[in-house]
């Protein structure tokens, strides 16, 4: 099982699914952001898994995963900055209360 690509991939998919559900279901912007982080980690897991089962890709996969981690960090920065900015105005982190713009 630990030697089977599918297992890791399924694991990754499950994590991705949890993240997706979280993103879809949560009301708190930061919680949604956390869900996205879960999703990104799920992707990372799949990348590493692919790398781990292909000798020539191992290093490349790890590198890519590193990049993804870094990008995730950047994304988190931006996201949190935006959350803070809007919190200043709206006094709430709950996104379903951000609906000034709609039809």
């Amino acid at each position: 099982m630990s030697q089977s690509l599918e297992a890791y991939l399924v694991l990754s998919v499950l994590l991705f699914g949890i993240g997706t559900f979280g993103f879809l279901a949560k009301r708190n912007a930061i919680a949604m952001l956390m869900s996205i982080e879960l999703m990104l980690n799920a992707v990372n897991l799949s990348i590493i898994a692919f790398g781990a089962f292909t000798p020539e890709l191992a290093a490349q996969a790890s590198t890519i995963a590193l990049f993804v981690i870094a990008v995730a960090a950047g994304e988190a920065t931006v996201g949190l900055a935006i959350v803070i900015a809007i919190y200043r105005i709206r006094r709430t982190p709950l996104v379903d209360e951000y609906a000034s713009m709609k039809e």
């Binding site: 949604m32 799920a42 992707v43 799949s46 020539e56 890519i64 935006i82």
Partner: protein, 506 residues
């Protein structure tokens, strides 16, 4: 090695300019003029570099053969790169020109804006030349992260931040989905190199067995990711809110920059890397193209907020451009497939100028804080500010597709290519036409307001800064020249055609 510097030069110049602006701001705060000078200068330099380096069609430019970074190539400078670089830099240039009029009265800092904008542009440029999935992903992130920030740039404005957070959350969601798709491709083909991927996939597809499901899933994930970025229905939801909320010059940028860069991403991934799978996505994208243009136009019909209206119209334009992709996917003849891509490119070029110009007029009207983006602010504009109204009219007519303006040629070329394929794709051509007629209604409604309604009593005086004026003239001039001035039309046709041929004949 010399080549590689040249290869990257425009990209480097843009990033360098961004960093320079940060430094200027650090050492000499409140020096907007210098910032503008630096920003414009840098972008002009980059534009010049792009045009000088090339490669240009017919073997022009300092790098007629192009060049690439890394071995295997991560980034390549080919006809497509040069073309998209030029477009993206122009977008940056115009967006920057439109900014001060809007930002300064609202006490929003120009340097941060300029730097962020330039970073975003550089992201697009990176996508334009990306040859490696990682680079493309990085480029995408470099494109969208500053984009989120720009959307929320008016941070004391509730709408701006609200739009930004919607844009950010949904954008990150789609990025994650997109990334998963990349991972699948990487995992299945064992490579991040576009050409390598293409080779691998060609082998897979040439076998008689059906497409591996993982690849189908990858296609779905990737498609959703990019369709979100180009704002195709049903992944367009963010557009109206983000566009409406963003500071208007940013909206202008958002409506063209990320969209064109995202199309560049599609060209690189779907057209170049996943070329062997094109038959798989043709139908779905075709249907989505039809839905996208129709829904976009329908939604725009009754919209009274001009930014939202233009947002919906931008969705519709996405649909038109997607038809070019469908042509690529459905054409048997490689030449016709190239024509489809040419349609995508030509449309993008035309669309960049006209849409940005239109938003610039909206922005110009909002120079005085407190002016809304309701259609009524345009009432009697023709009487209050003749020249902006005239330019707006031209731009709107171009967006409608009235000849001989740029937008007309753009539509004509896409339609032509669709007709070349025939069959269901030709139906899309007809649908474009019907949609264009529908679109005329809401574009012309703006003209109605400008010329056929009396200004509101409290309509503020319209005063437009020199930068905006320059930008507006440039955008309008481009819109007119691309349509009316054969050398320009021809040059762009040639360039887009050559880039498309080069891309599809890989």
């Amino acid at each position: 090695m010399n080549d590689s510097i040249l290869t990257l030069l425009p990209f480097v110049i843009v990033i360098g300019t961004a960093i320079a602006i940060i430094l200027i701001d650090l050492f000499r705060p409140d020096s907007d003029r210098i910032v503008m000078a630096a920003g414009l200068g840098g972008l002009l330099l980059a534009l010049a570099a792009t045009l000088v380096i090339g490669p240009l069609p017919g073997g022009g430019g300092a790098l007629p053969e192009g060049g690439s970074i890394g071995d295997p190539a991560l980034y390549t400078r080919d006809l497509l790169t040069a073309l998209l670089d030029a477009v993206l830099i122009s977008i940056g240039l115009l967006s920057l020109l439109f900014a001060p009029d809007y930002l300064v009265p609202r006490k929003l800092p120009l340097p941060e804006f300029a730097a962020t904008l330039l970073f975003a542009i550089s992201g697009g440029m990176l996508i334009a030349g990306g040859q490696d999935l990682l680079i493309l992903f990085l480029g995408l992130e470099l494109l969208v992260l500053p984009g989120y920030l720009l959307a929320g740039f008016a941070k004391r404005d509730g709408l701006s931040t609200e739009g930004a957070i919607k844009y950010f959350l949904l954008g990150s969601f789609s990025s994650a989905i997109f990334l998963f798709g990349l991972a699948f491709v990487f995992g299945y083909t064992g490579s991040t190199q576009l050409d390598e991927i293409a080779n691998q996939l060609a082998r897979v597809v040439s076998g008689t067995q059906s497409l591996p499901l993982a690849l189908a899933m990858a296609l779905a994930l990737l498609a959703v990711g990019v369709l979100f970025k180009i704002a195709a229905v049903p992944f367009h939801y963010w557009t109206p809110d983000a566009y409406q909320g963003s500071p208007t010059p940013v909206t202008g940028y958002l409506s063209v920059g990320p969209k064109i860069a995202a199309f560049a991403l599609i060209l690189r991934i779907f057209v170049e890397g996943l070329e062997p799978l094109r038959g798989e996505w043709a139908l779905i994208i075709g249907v989505l193209a039809a839905i996208t243009m129709t829904v976009g136009n329908l939604a725009a019909l009754g919209q009274d907020n001009i930014k939202r209206m233009l947002a919906y119209s931008a969705i519709a334009h996405t649909g038109y451009i997607m038809v070019g992709l469908v042509v690529f996917a459905t054409a048997d003849d490689p030449a016709v497939a190239a024509d489809g891509i040419q349609g995508v490119l030509f449309y993008s070029v035309a669309y960049a100028f006209m849409n940005l110009g239109a938003f610039a007029v909206v922005a110009a009207l909002q120079r005085r804080p407190g002016v809304t983006s309701q259609l009524t602010t345009f009432a009697g504009l023709g009487y209050r500010a003749a020249i902006p109204a005239l330019l707006m009219t031209i731009l709107l007519l171009s967006l409608t597709g009235i000849p001989p303006l740029a937008g007309f040629f753009a539509k004509a070329i896409v339609v032509l290519s669709a007709l070349e394929v025939g069959g269901g794709t030709a139906l899309l051509a007809v649908l474009i036409m019907l949609n264009a007629a529908m679109a005329a209604f809401y574009y012309l409604r703006v003209v109605v307001y400008m010329y056929m309604r009396k200004p509101e009593d409290d309509a503020p005086e319209v005063s437009i800064g020199a930068f905006t004026k320059t930008g507006l003239f440039l955008a309008a001039a481009a819109t007119i020249l691309i349509g009316l001035f054969p050398p320009v039309t021809g040059a762009i046709l040639e360039w887009t055609g050559a880039a498309a041929t080069a891309l599809t004949s890989l």
